[in-house]
């Protein structure tokens, strides 16, 4: 009899706990989420978004990083990281064209647009009765952390995002303190597209690549060009004679050997001293949490003695 009572009490406690649990977690979801987006639009969600379509690779990476990966139901063509994203249905995005029919069919409760999207695209989706949040590109890493927290607010992942931001901040601080005593800043040429070796495309001022190169203790030789993406003449390249060449186009099959074989490039000190490195461009071009990975990777290349053992 006593045993029965103990079991009943245990059962009741269990029931109470399970009954309480959803109430406790559902509490914040009851009030609508209102956030102003990058186009100065006030976006209102009745509750944390559970069916999200991401229109930019950076947004997809942010969502996964803050633990909202399972809340994504669609992604754009370019979202290839993390690899789970590839299993989601694509809603287009190549040639700036999104498949509006497919997005409508998926019935998302939130479409997360990014800096690569135009106000017209946001309007087109809004006119279809879809809630769109435009996440503006960050200008620096602090801004990126703010973006992470904004997305966390929309998806109900605040605590996870807080932990992520704390660890990212710690890694950025580690880079900064490692590079504190740097006096020699190597000059860097970052190649985006070298299909025409006489006029390769590079990352100019205003790009994340330029920002991160500087932050990682390097000097971007294209900092004086105009435009985020700019063509630099080979003559200027020879004149500047960078210490380091980074191949952001390595993913397209450009190799260190090919660069050395380009006519006239063998005179560059970076080629002669074998300081030409393939580089994962996604780490420095996508305004998502992997920018910090990019920063660390750059610092390790620029200052192997100071930052070589950073994670």
């Amino acid at each position: 009899m006593k045993q029965f009572r103990a079991i009943s009490i245990a059962l009741i406690v269990c029931l109470l706990l399970t009954a309480c649990a959803p109430i406790l977690t559902a509490q914040p979801a009851d009030s609508p989420i209102i956030v102003t987006d990058g186009l100065n639009r006030q976006v209102t969600l009745p509750a944390a978004a559970q069916k999200i379509v991401s229109l930019a690779p950076s947004n997809t990476e942010i969502l996964y990083a803050i633990g909202a990966g399972s809340q994504i139901i669609g992604r754009d063509d370019f979202s290839n990281f993390p690899s789970q994203a590839l299993e989601l249905p694509s809603v287009g995005g190549s040639m700036s064209n999104y498949n509006l029919e497919e997005i409508t069919r998926l019935e998302p409760d939130l479409v997360l647009a990014g800096g690569i999207n135009t106000p017209e695209q946001v309007k087109a989706l809004e006119d279809l009765g879809i809630t769109v949040f435009f996440l503006a590109n960050p200008v620096d890493l602090e801004d990126l952390f703010e973006n992470l927290q904004t997305v966390a607010l929309l998806t109900g992942q605040e605590s996870e995002a807080e932990a992520l931001v704390a660890s990212l901040r710690q890694r950025v601080n580690a880079v900064e303190s490692a590079l504190e005593g740097v006096t020699e800043r190597p000059s860097v040429f970052y190649e985006l597209d070298g299909s025409d070796p006489a006029r390769p495309w590079t990352a100019g001022p205003g790009s994340f690549t330029d920002y991160l190169i500087t932050l990682a203790g390097g000097e971007n030789i294209a900092a004086g060009l105009s435009g985020e993406w700019a063509q630099i003449s080979q003559e200027e390249l020879i004149l500047q004679d960078p210490h380091i060449i980074l191949l952001g186009d390595a993913a397209y099959g450009v190799t260190v050997e090919q660069v050395a074989a380009r006519p006239g490039w063998d005179t560059l000190q970076a080629v002669r001293q074998q300081r030409v490195y393939p580089f994962d461009d996604d780490l420095v071009s996508r305004p998502g949490p992997r920018l910090v990975d990019g920063l660390v990777a750059l610092a390790r290349i620029f200052h192997p003695d100071l930052a070589g053992d950073l994670e």
């Binding site: 186009l39 100065n40 639009r41 063509d77 694509s90 809603v91 287009g92 190549s94 040639m95 700036s96 064209n97 999104y98 498949n99 509006l100 029919e101 497919e102 409508t104 069919r105 019935e107 135009t118 106000p119 017209e120 695209q121 946001v122 309007k123 087109a124 989706l125 006119d127 279809l128 009765g129 205003g206 105009s226 435009g227 985020e228 993406w229 063509q231």
Partner: protein
Amino acid sequence: MKKPLPPYWISLALLIAALLASVAIGSVTIPPVVLVNLLVARLGGSGLPTPESLQPFSTILFSLRLPRTALIALGGAALSCSGAAYQGLFRNPLADPYLIGVASGAGLGAVIAMSVRWSYTATGLLAVPLSAFAGALLTVFIVYQLARVRRVVPITNLILAGVAVSSFATALTSFWMINATGEVRRALVWLLGGAAMSGWQPVLAVLPYIILGTVILLTLGHALNVLQFGEEQAKQLGIESDRIRLAIVIAASLATAAAVSFAGLIGFVGLIVPHSVRLLWGVDHRRLLPLSILNGAAFLLLADVLARTIMAPQEIPVGIITALVGAPFFLWLLHRAKQQLLW
């Protein structure tokens, strides 16, 4: 001898088929039964609310496919009608609606507008089409003024001024694109003739200009016929070629500028549709212009269906399709006509 089917009926049937295809085919498959039910419910005004499960289909149909179909049909009609009129006016088979600067002007206007970060307001959202429209009309105006010798505008001057100003505007566009940050891909897509829009606003915005332009052109069929004998003869037959020329330039520019402002620079339609109509049904402009309208709409609709499906779910700019499919078709038609010694 069996009488051939009247061209109007063939063209109308083709247009209806193209309209149906454009509404029925898309990257999302809507079951035919659902499609018909939704259309009947909406058109019949039964007032019954759409069931929850069909809501996405209803949105896709009424906010995406129908307005897009209307916009594409209007664009195709405007471009081929203007093309037919220009070929007649300039008595040059290579003339197309972009000959005297509409396209390059619209392109420059659009690219300039794209390089500005507009605020999220009604004006900001319409900045690109408005700027393209204004750029197109302004360029044609400049060309017309440059070509004028006192009070007359010789045809040769008009063509040469058009080519020169177009090249200049195109160069400015390229220069602008290289210096602009970030928007290059978007500009490229626009210049290739592909821009996604939803809702009826764009349709309503271009409708008055396209109707005005094409109606004016339709009334000038007889005058264009007479102009084919040369300006002297036209004068003797009571046609004031100066005024006709101005009317055609204004009407065609209005219609073409409106057509490209939202949809982007769709090439080739204004060239091959009128020529195909000529090869099939003769050169009488009173018939050529309306038939070009019907077939231009049908051709662009079918090209758009291909653009939407050929690489689905990805969409490619419709301008690529019009040239890719249009050119071989046109060459086949030309070859056939040669065999029959009609050309």
